[in-house]
């Protein structure tokens, strides 16, 4: 073997190690599709709870009443738990299939990078909610989620960064038109997840 071939192989192995060590590549695209589906189901349930018989694209003048708060929180929590559970399960399966450890330095780092903006946003939104600021829930959760994705994108496939930017834009739009909060919510957490999940699935999972 010529030294050039040897060095070429060295370079390839370095590149592979650098990527493997910094990126959690087991994230399943399918879990994005599922999370988006749960979000759409949740948004429909919320629509029947707070908006029906108004059309789903109607601008809401009235804000959420206190009496609806608990069922809405239950729906949101159910969507969150179902998304996390299927994300965990599918990604774990993908890691096992590839013979790679699921819980290691890289996934630990990913979780920390995701959780810092996400937990901040969650608490921030909850505190405002408790003070009766219902209108900020949709925009602030979308924006903080987008920031969390961008913060964690060095540990994920590069495309996730663009999902983050999109969530922030939708969040800002939701802040501009708070009466369309539910619609933007369905767009950001539902449609975008399904689209990105499908793209990732086609690109990396097959």
């Amino acid at each position: 073997m010529k030294p050039a071939d040897h060095y070429q192989e060295d370079l390839a192995s370095i590149r592979k190690m650098m990527e493997q060590s910094s990126k959690f590549l087991s994230l399943s695209g399918l879990s994005g599709i599922l999370a988006g589906t749960y979000a759409l189901l949740g948004a429909s349930a919320a629509y029947y709870l707070i908006q029906f018989p108004l059309a789903s694209n109607a601008y809401r003048q009235e804000s959420v009443r206190g009496s609806n708060l608990v069922p809405l929180l239950v729906i949101a929590a159910a969507v969150l738990v179902a998304s996390l559970a299927s994300g965990y399960w599918l990604s774990r399966r993908k890691a096992e299939k590839a013979g790679q450890p699921f819980w290691n330095e890289t996934s630990r780092r990913l979780v920390i990078n995701l959780l810092i903006p996400l937990a901040t946003g969650g608490l921030f939104t909850l505190l405002l909610l408790l003070n009766g600021h219902f209108g900020v829930v949709a925009p602030s959760l979308l924006i903080f989620y987008g920031l969390a994705l961008i913060n964690a994108s060095p540990n994920l496939y590069g495309e996730i960064r663009y999902l983050g930017y999109s969530e922030i834009l939708i969040g800002l739009a939701a802040a501009l038109w708070p009466g369309y909060g539910l619609l933007f919510w369905a767009l950001g957490f539902g449609v975008l997840h399904i689209v990105y999940g499908a793209v990732m699935y086609r690109k990396y999972d097959r």
Binding site: P3, Y7, L11, S13, I14, R15, M17, M18, S21
Partner: protein, 100 residues
């Protein structure tokens, strides 16, 4: 023309050492167990190469306790970063020279 081999770093002429330097350049720090899993080498082999890089001051070692278990983390130094970059450039040079 100068011989491109002259620019190669003798210390880094080993795949495991190059991989270690790559991982530590891509991440702030990495611990021993994580490196072992990633590089799929034996404890002894990995430890020997880490020692060699440490002796050259290419990497820093931080020992601490996590949940009462000893935890050893490694970080690349500025000197190590420069040496690694130079060595990668030299490897590319060799590849280019032999393609001609």
């Amino acid at each position: 023309m100068k011989n491109p081999f002259d620019h190669l770093d003798r210390i880094l002429e080993h795949r495991v050492r190059l991989q270690i330097m790559g991982v530590l350049t891509a991440n702030d720090s990495f611990d021993f167990v994580g490196l072992k899993e990633l590089l799929q080498t034996s404890d002894g082999n990995l430890a020997t190469h880490l020692k060699a890089l440490e002796r050259e001051k290419y990497i820093l070692v931080q020992k601490s306790f996590v949940d009462r278990k000893p935890n050893t983390r490694y970080k690349v130094t500025e000197r190590g970063k420069q040496a690694f970059r130079k060595h990668l450039d030299a490897m590319e040079e060799v590849i280019r020279a032999q393609r001609k």
